[in-house]
């Protein structure tokens, strides 16, 4: 899964999709996660980063990751979702 190339995320969690003119808000973990996905970081790597940094478990992070990706596709922010 790849994030559309022309999408930019600001440090404070504002995302603009120039293709559609739509904008989005992300929370801190959302901003961090989107950046990692955008850099094509593999899931295992992302999971490690989150588990080291935050008070959460592998299972609950994996669940939330799936959910986040699903919604990116729903919002057509991924290459796959944009097809």
């Amino acid at each position: 899964m790849e994030i559309n190339k022309n999408i930019a995320v600001s440090d404070n969690g504002f995302l603009f999709n120039p293709a559609t003119g739509e904008s989005y808000n992300l929370n801190e973990t959302g901003t961090e996660l989107l950046k990692l996905i955008k850099e094509n970081t593999p899931f295992e790597e992302i999971s490690k980063i989150f588990l080291n940094k935050y008070e959460t478990t592998a299972i609950s992070f994996e669940k939330d990751f799936q959910d986040f990706v699903e919604i990116l596709e729903q919002y057509k922010l991924t290459e796959k979702g944009n097809r």
């Binding site: 995302l15 739509e22 904008s23 989005y24 808000n25 992300l26 929370n27 801190e28 973990t29 959302g30 961090e32 996660l33 989107l34 989150f50 080291n52 940094k53 935050y54 008070e55 959460t56 609950s60 992070f61 939330d64 990751f65 959910d67 986040f68 699903e70 919604i71 990116l72 729903q74 919002y75």
Partner: protein, 454 residues
Amino acid sequence: MTMNKLNYERPIINKIENTMPNKIGGRSGFKPITEIDGVRIKGMISNFGSPLFVISEATIRKTYQSAYRAFTTRYPKVQFAWSYKTNYLNAVCNTFHQEGSWAEVVSGFEYEKAINNGVDGRHIIFNGPDKTKADLQKAIANQSLIHIDHLDEYYMILNIAEETNLRPQVAIRVNMDTGIYPMWDRFGFNYENGQAWDVLNKIMMNKKMDLIGLHAHIGTYMMEAEPYKIAASKLSELAVSINKKYNHYIKYIDLGGGFASNNTLKGAYLPAEDTNPTIDDYAEAISSALLNSNIDPDHLPLLILETGRALIDDAGSLLGTVITNKRDSKGARNTVLDIGVNILFTSFWYNHKITPVQSFSHHIEDTKIYGPLCMNIDVIRESISLPPLNTGDNVIIHRVGAYNMTQWMQFITLRPAVVMISEKGDVNIIRESEKIEAITDYEKVPSHLKDFDL
């Protein structure tokens, strides 16, 4: 030394939409609520389980006292009678009785509960259409205040009076047009069409019972005070006419319950706190109507109020836990709680306010809240803005004190415990969580159905 890990918030992304602001009542408030009356919510959940009903004794007393003051500062003789069906947990009833409330009951079961709580029969108001002969015999012997609902009941009372030579203490329930729609005309005797006079004449002429009062309960969750003014005026006129015709003073006028609580109705655009009359508005409407009527000032009747939801809603909270988060087929956020409609009956009428118990950021999601029942109807909120909740997180549902702990159903799950926080801050169980025996002890399996081979 290991680094302290940061609090984890589920990653979220929300589309920014330039639409109407959310219906109010959808907002969860901006701060978590971690305590009730100084008692930690998480601690109560670990001690007594989830879900858990919590009642604040301090809030009951404060609410009662301020309602009492609202009326007594405007009218000299005021008596509240606690509406048992609103919440008849004995600890709740007794808190109201300690504050000076009489009991208002609508069935033989509730009557027995009030007697068992130690309420003197002369301080029990017996309402409702379903009083059996045995109920009435007991109530008459105890000199309880019987509010006659229909003519069959009147004849049953007359019959008992003749059999026992006791003098039943009666009032009639009057229904009337107060300008509200729909008009509650199924209980009691109608004012406008003369039914009320018919039964009053019967009572006064047969001389077998004492007509001590007039009663009306014009509706529930009344969003205006004006109808109470009309009701109080009409009952005052009846009292004046009874006096004129029979030279008889009634002792009290009972205006029932029906004041709106602070819960917001489904479909309302503004929060109830901003739109509903205050207790002072109701008190002003009723008191001014009574005082401005033609009632003889030397014989002002006692004003009785059977206020239910407005006195108890705020004192009750329901604590629960997130079972899971999911998305529906269109990607909308769903959160499943361990609180179902079977224990939160009022979710059919109210957009209950829900607040997380743990800290959260300012990010919110529009969420649909489901209960745990394997039934499609089990929806607690169609849409509410909440911060991202994790599985195992706790929430508090506010203002659930009225009607839930009486109308709750044992369905699919067992009913949870109810605790009360005393004014000193002790937490006492006032109803144990149900065990399976609470259900199965009442069942019987015929002997030929006892065994099977699978």
